[in-house]
Structures are given as C-alpha cells and as structure tokens.
C-alpha cells in the first residue's frame, strides 16, 4: 500500500508534485481546505505558464543568439533564463518539496544549538538551497548527494545570515533583519577581498565617487520591458534579421521580461499560506533582539546606490560576457534584476561606486564563468521538470553561477580541475576576509 502510494507520487510528473505536497502540508498546518487547494493550483499555474514563456524565449532569442554568434565569430549562444526561470525549474523538481522540511529542521537545530542567530521565515528562497540539491542529483544521480547538498547549502545560508547582519542593520538600517539568500549574500565575500586589496593601494584607496541622480534620469532603461525590447532588437539586428524582424523579436523579449515576474508571482502566492503559518510558528519561538529574521534580498533593492549600480551593470555585464574568453552565456533573464548580485557589495563598500564597479565586475565575471560550467545541469533540470522542451540548452546566472552550488557539485565531479581549484580557493580566501570584515563591522556598530 505504502509502496503503491510512493510509486504514484514518484510518477506524478514534476508540475503536479509540488502543488500536491503544498496542499497536504498546508492542510496539516491548519490552512482551510479551499485555500490550500487554491494555493496548490496557483503553483501549478505558475509552472505551466513559466514553461510556455521560457520555451518561447529560448526558441526565439536562442536562435537569434546563435545566428549572431555565427556572423561575428562569437560564442554567445546559450540564453540565461534568469532567476525567474531557474526558480520554477527548481521548485518543479522532485527534491524541492523535501527541501522545505529539511531546511526548517536544519535551521531549528542550529538555532537550538546556538550555531546561528538567523531565523528563516522565507519559504520562497528555499529554492536556492533546493537548487544545489537538484543539480547535484542531475550531476551524480544520487539522491543522498542531493539531500546532503540541501543541508550543506542551508548551513552556509544561515551562517551568511549572521555574517551580513551588521551591514543589513547598519548600512541598510534594517535592524533585526538579515539577508542570507541568493546571489547577493554568496557573492559579497568577493567584495570584502576587493575592499581589503584596494585599501592597501596608495592613491587608489582614496578614490570615491557616487552618482546619486543617475537612476532618476536614466531609470527608464532599467525597466524590464525596455531591457527586453533593446536586447531583443539588438540581438535581432546583429543576427542579420531585417529591421521589422528584429523589432518583433524586441517586442517578444519585452513581453518575456514583463510576463515572467507576473507568472512567478503565482508560485509565490501559492506558497504564501504555508509561509505565513511557518512565520507564526517560528516567530513565536525565536524573536526579540537576540535573533535576525531572514528576508528576501529584494528589501535591499530600494537603496539609491543599489539602483544606480544595477543600472550601470546592465550594459557592463553584457560587455563582460562579450570579452570573457570562451564564454557561451548570453545574459538576459537576470539583467533587469542584476542588482541582486551586488546589493550587499554596495554596503560592504559603503556606497563607494568606484569600488562597487570593481567588485561587481569581478563578481559578474566569476558568475558568468561558473554558469558556463553548470549550464548542462541547468538544462537537464529544466528538461526533467518540463520547463524547457526544445533542443537548445539554457543557462542561469542566478544560482547557476553561484560558487556554493558549483563547489558542492564539483566535489563529486572533478571536471575542469584547474578552474575549480582556482575558483574554490579564491572563494575560500574571500570567505575568511568576509568573516574578518564582519567582526570589524560588528564592533564598529557597538
């Protein structure tokens, strides 16, 4: 009986597994049956919708990117689906449903043993940890490697929460909160190392400029529709399309940029009742000044220096993608929210735009390099979860370019050993510097 039920669940198909789990879990946590079913169906709707959009994006923009690369002898032929593509792929994978209880258990255990002060009330961002698990299953075929991946990533995330809390409460003035999730937290150690080096160079260490009004004047160029329109038309023209064809690709890519977050919203809404119950239970146990509440990185994106840097890094990331040797990944899906990669970096450099530009360039270079190593896993993940159907591969800068996921999976793989050792040891050094910086920041605050 149990075995039959397990078989039914395993054979359910990716897009109906998480809705089912969410419906059951929500009911168990006291959500009304009607609301629970609605939530489950919204998640399913999000999965189906994102599949349609990503497929359209990949077949249209992917084909154009290949034509462009052939014409100019470039290698930019794999499209970045962005976090809005990578997160649904991860949530639709079998391991994601298990990631919710696993990360909660890890968090509560660490809080109980005093190993962290970070309380995670944010169910959505569990996808980052689930991603490490999901790609390690794709790469190794071993379920235990996936589960261990989620645990390892979760431990790192909660320690990151403690690490960045002094800046979240300091520079961003969000006392009592922390932002341990995603690219923002896992790339910021690089900024600490860059800062340390710049401090040691006479002359260079005095350079400081900031551009306050840029985003008020040029803000329109950071709008998703405009980014999509320009990218689509630009790639279309470079691919040798006629102007009308290039413009219609531009309109299609504007549509992708505008619609993707709207569809992702369905999945987020579906996770909300579960998220609210968890917030109620956890905040009852772990509240007050001794703890940091972990929230989504988007709380940082309103800071004017973060917005300005995000604007500058749209063209800069494309430039880095073009000059990086052998890079195959064309940044696209993450462009409009590129500030996710540099938000905490801005705080580490205290808003000094000169240093942000240097750190950010290093961060985007490393992100692109890693996403070139991981795109096969991401493509396989997308295929398994039914998000992508065509023959064209996809890449993901957000999380597909994360050192944490990459280093973990690479421990089982040992491909491109030189690159792995370089990135791995660089990241380790960055982490050590980050811990040192965090201590200084903490004592400064006190």
């Amino acid at each position: 009986m149990v075995k039959e039920m397990m078989n039914v669940i395993m054979n359910m198909g990716a897009s109906s597994l998480l809705p089912t789990v969410v419906i059951l879990l929500s009911i168990c946590l006291g959500v009304k049956v009607g609301r629970a079913i609605y939530s489950g169906l919204m998640i399913g709707a999000g999965f189906v919708g994102i599949g349609l959009i990503v497929d359209m994006m990949n077949s249209e923009l992917g084909t154009a990117a290949q034509a462009m690369s052939e014409r100019f002898g470039l290698t930019l032929n794999i499209v970045d689906v962005g976090w809005q593509g990578a997160a649904p792929m991860t949530w639709a994978s079998g391991i994601a449903a298990a990631a919710i209880p696993i990360t909660v258990i890890v968090n509560v255990f660490m809080l109980w043993r005093g190993l962290t002060k970070t309380v995670n009330i944010d169910i959505w961002d569990i996808w980052h940890m689930a991603f490490t698990g999901a790609v390690s299953i794709v790469a190794t075929g071993k379920l235990w490697a996936g589960i261990l991946g989620i645990v390892v990533h979760a431990v790192v995330v909660f320690k990151m929460g403690d690490l960045w809390a002094p800046w979240i409460g300091g520079y961003f003035e969000l006392t009592g909160l922390t932002v341990p999730h995603g690219t923002s937290a896992c790339m910021a150690p690089i900024a600490c190392l860059v800062d340390l080096i710049i401090e040691k160079i006479p002359g260079i260490n005095r350079i400081n400029f900031s551009v306050d009004k840029l985003h008020e004047r040029a803000g329109i160029f950071a709008q998703p529709a405009v980014v999509g329109g320009i990218m689509g038309s630009g790639v279309g023209l470079l691919a040798g399309y006629r102007p009308d064809g290039a413009f219609s690709l531009g309109v299609e890519m504007a549509a992708v940029m505008v619609l993707m977050p709207k569809i992702v919203k369905c999945i987020m809404e579906g996770l909300m009742p579960l998220s609210e119950s968890m917030k109620r239970i956890l905040s009852k146990r772990f509240s007050g000044g001794r703890f940091y509440i972990a929230v989504d990185p988007s709380v940082l994106l309103g800071d004017s220096q973060v917005i300005t840097a995000g604007l500058i890094f749209i063209p800069l990331t494309l430039l880095i993608a073009m000059v990086q040797p052998d890079n195959q990944v064309l940044p696209f899906g993450d462009l409009a929210t590129i500030s996710f990669f540099i938000a905490i970096t801005v705080a580490v450099h205290k808003g000094n735009l000169f240093r942000i530009l240097i750190s950010g360039s290093v961060i985007m270079y490393i992100t692109l390099w890693i996403s070139n190593q991981t795109y096969l896993w991401v493509t396989e993940l997308g295929k398994n979860s039914g998000t992508i159907t065509g023959d064209l591969p996809v890449a993901a800068l957000d999380q597909g370019g994360s050192p944490i996921s990459y280093i973990y999976v690479q421990l089982f793989e040992w491909k491109n050993v030189t690159g792995f050792v370089v990135v791995g040891s660089l990241y380790l050094v960055c982490m050590i510097v980050a811990v040192y910086y965090s201590h200084n920041q903490q004592s400064e605050a006190e």
Binding site: W124, L174, Q223, P261, M268, S283, D296, S298, V299
Partner: protein, 93 residues
C-alpha cells in the same frame, strides 16, 4: 471612492506580493475599497496619478508627495500591528 495604493519592491514579485495581500486583507476587514497597484520601485513615478498611499518593502529616501509607509514589517513580522494602524489612518482620512 476607490483608493489607489501603490505597493512596490525591488523586483515587484517576492516581497511586494506579501505586502499587497496583507493590505488587501486589512482593507476588506475594514470595508475600505482599494485598488492595489503592485510595481517596482523604479516604476513608482509613472503610476503616481491618483495614488493615496505608497507602501514599499524596501527603504526609500525619495519623497513622491504622496503619503508613504514602510511595509518591511509585513515581511519580517516585527511591528506589523503598528504598520496596519498607520495604513488604516491614512486610508480612512
């Protein structure tokens, strides 16, 4: 009359969805007719017309000439009751 509330965050997806839903619940509880406009911070300027309130889930320093309330407590759960009262006071006025 329907009141227009702008709810904005960095990416217009994650945190603003939570805040928007909370404001909807709050308003239906107190019978206030609202229209929620969920957008990105950078889009606020082009949606200002007719807005009675701006709620953001991230700190903004710019003054748009419309009453502003920080909605960060909806995300963290710290001080949520107070934010609800401030919002009610503005929307009932």
């Amino acid at each position: 009359m329907k009141k227009k509330v702008i709810v904005a965050c960095g990416g217009a997806v994650a945190t603003s969805t939570i805040a928007a839903n909370k404001i909807m619940e709050l308003c239906s509880e107190y019978d206030i007719d609202v229209e929620i406009c969920q957008i990105r911070i950078s889009e606020i300027e082009s949606h200002l017309a007719g807005a009675s309130l701006i709620v953001t889930t991230t700190k903004i320093k710019r003054d748009y000439g419309v009453p502003y309330v920080s909605g960060i407590s909806f995300i963290s759960g710290i001080g949520e009751a107070q934010t609800r009262e401030t919002i009610l006071a503005i929307l009932k006025a």
